[in-house]
Subunit: 498 residues, 2 copies
Amino acid sequence: MSSTEKLYLEYKSVMQKVADVKYAAAVLQWDQETYLPEKGAEFRGRQLATLSEISHEMFINDKNEGLLKDLLSKDLPQEQKRNVALTWEDYSRLKKLTPEFVRKMSETVSASFFAWIEARKQNSYKIFEPKLAPLVDLKRQEAELYGYEGHPYNALMDEYEKGATVQKIDTIFEDIKLPLRQLLSEIQNDRPVDDSFLRQHFLKQQQWEWGMYLAKQLGFDFERGRQDISEHPFTTNFSSQDVRITTRIDEHDFANMTWSTIHEVGHALYEQGLPPEQYGLPLGEYASLGIHESQSRLWENCVGRGNAFWSYYLPQLKQFFPEQFKDVSKDQFLKAINKVQPSLVRAEADELTYHFHVMVRYELEKRLIEGSLQVKEIPLYWNDQYKALLGVDVPDDKSGCLQDVHWSHGSFGYFATYSLGSFYAAQLWQHANKTIPGLETEISQQGKTKSLLLWLRNNVHKHGRFYNSNELCAAVTGHELDSKVFVSYLKEKLNDLK
Amino acid sequence: MSSTEKLYLEYKSVMQKVADVKYAAAVLQWDQETYLPEKGAEFRGRQLATLSEISHEMFINDKNEGLLKDLLSKDLPQEQKRNVALTWEDYSRLKKLTPEFVRKMSETVSASFFAWIEARKQNSYKIFEPKLAPLVDLKRQEAELYGYEGHPYNALMDEYEKGATVQKIDTIFEDIKLPLRQLLSEIQNDRPVDDSFLRQHFLKQQQWEWGMYLAKQLGFDFERGRQDISEHPFTTNFSSQDVRITTRIDEHDFANMTWSTIHEVGHALYEQGLPPEQYGLPLGEYASLGIHESQSRLWENCVGRGNAFWSYYLPQLKQFFPEQFKDVSKDQFLKAINKVQPSLVRAEADELTYHFHVMVRYELEKRLIEGSLQVKEIPLYWNDQYKALLGVDVPDDKSGCLQDVHWSHGSFGYFATYSLGSFYAAQLWQHANKTIPGLETEISQQGKTKSLLLWLRNNVHKHGRFYNSNELCAAVTGHELDSKVFVSYLKEKLNDLK
């Protein structure tokens, strides 16, 4: 073995041990949101804080800095070179935080998470506010520690979508706002769609079985993952061999569980498709949150709200719920599940108005981080913006500014990736349909999505972080991200349903 | 704050962070035995190994050694003094292991655990053997690293029951063997007890609800814990505020789940009774495994197989399973659940023959560790001993030497604490009945065990590791452990049932 090879192995060993600790923390977080007994929360908070502190110290130290610098100067094979370069980027960024800061962040996040849970229970933002305020302060400090050009919010977005800036995101949202509003007002002039059959009574256990069936059909590998119940659905992983999704079930809302499950399965298929031999290394990680979201949105919307999919699956669904869907035609079903209607809750929004939900959060966070909006002003700002952008009155905090878990996790700078994900998804979907022969027929006649999954595995998943999001999009589709593709995808889909 | 106070706080902070990592590992282990998907096992193994290595390094280092030595020389309040002294004992012991050894042990344990799972599935010791052999080698090395007087097995028993030696345990087992054999042969001359009604069909879900009801009734605090399903029932905790029990349910064996649940609840009540303010410190930990087992056996057997308990609970049970128990009298029920009959499986054995099961394992381990028995000879030795001591023929590995999880966890030196636990339990129970006015009436008339729990909380739980097991036994009952108390408890109970 050459000395360079030894050096690379040493790097790999360090990185994998850091990953062990991070994934251990992820197990504790998963448990926190699924099974943790109420009074276990306080000690769980400190356990997570200690793990954060440790993984930070294991990564950020002079020895590793020397090792990385050494490796940067070596002539490495392409994949190894890319791993080292990406690790160096991460290192340079994280080095700006002290272990004490990391611990404080983790503790503040835990306290804030439990305050959010309680605030939702009592439907009162006032319970969340005193725990959110110190967290926002910390995030503002974090932005300063990282440093930025232009807007401080750039420093935070960079964690989720490298290279995303206020300037770029503002432009994308500006480009898309007008066509979406036009499309919305056209639809609002049409006859309202009847989707009341989605709000009949659907037994919890039967919904669970239906969700498990769908997850299996879509290719989620239950030998390398599982599904559980949580307050807010999410996907997490502790290696590509252990990927977990969660769901929630509302007995009076069929749509809630079904598309959230397809969505999380989309995330999970990505994680299960990352190369296990790159465990702990950048090439074993997802490209960006925008790309991650492109996978979930592609399955949820492009596949899971599509004509082909329900050609096969509506008859299956009728076997699970013979009573509830007996008089529902495919056409009625498709119209209902694609109904465009401004509403209160992002996670249940249609494909069009979804982006107005994101824009509200994005603008709000920008202001919080630049200091032009105070934490105590959030509900008022939120409610005003929902009225202005979506035309809806927010009746209470639970269906308003308390609806999303992200802030309680300290995830500021995250929301824009939801819209980016939809736009990447449309572009990938367009290209997949051009490239995979017989895809639509396979789906509509056999309910099979295997060739799509295989295509995503080969074109997106297997690369890990080798390409950044724009490079990946260009490499796969031939073009960088273009939000017009999303607009035309949506126009066509909604027109077909008329 | 004085410099000594500062020093103690520093010690406390170090110990609590070490505890954070150990408890994190415990969460990963709990998950491993309850929810882990099959293919997640390999990476989970390395994650656990990394956490073991880290917690070892965080505890064993020159800085902590200096800190502890410093504190040992200071004049501390009694409880603090005891914490530091016990930590020093632990430190001196663990210092003998290198981080590499600890990591290797953890990895070997993981591999061995999954081999055991697989071996049980396929009912073949041959699958377990190649993963158990290196583990036994490591345990023998560990005994040498720790050092010992007399027998190398002493070094391993010391981890579970400080001060236990082959000499002492041999004596206890010698003392008890004869009276137990006499008692057994007397019983075997009696008319056989009919316990067939315990092996009717009992639906899983109903058993689960019955078990949850019992756990609540006995005082298990579900705000500070939960119950799940696993292959082998166990109790674990991640602080005194998060104590988890597991159970397994056999639809054709009522006894299996019921008394294993009461048993685990007994363990859990102890953990929930440890002082939370001593988190991470010796006084926040259980006294010894013998004492831990005394709590589970006291609830399982002294309470949970007793006349008073079923005076109240048999009518309750009949509400859960009206069909199965409709013609069963309390007398029949008590005879059946206390039926003495040599059998194959320790966890399901009666109170008498249980100790023969333990003796087989104890002798076997002694020989493995001293090197007079080889890993490949285990099934033969096991089967011979079961014939000799219990008079039963072992039909296969699953009901023979593969029945217990302990070896796959690397727990050698553990089994004797099961018998010690029963003996401590009898002595505590005898004393509780003398001391707590109206205990029996409370149990038989109201199904209440609160005054017993309170008595255990005050006399056993709250002390943590302040007393060692013998000191604790003497402090509470006025005498050190005396196995004759157990023999007379058992004789009286079995005679009453005639």
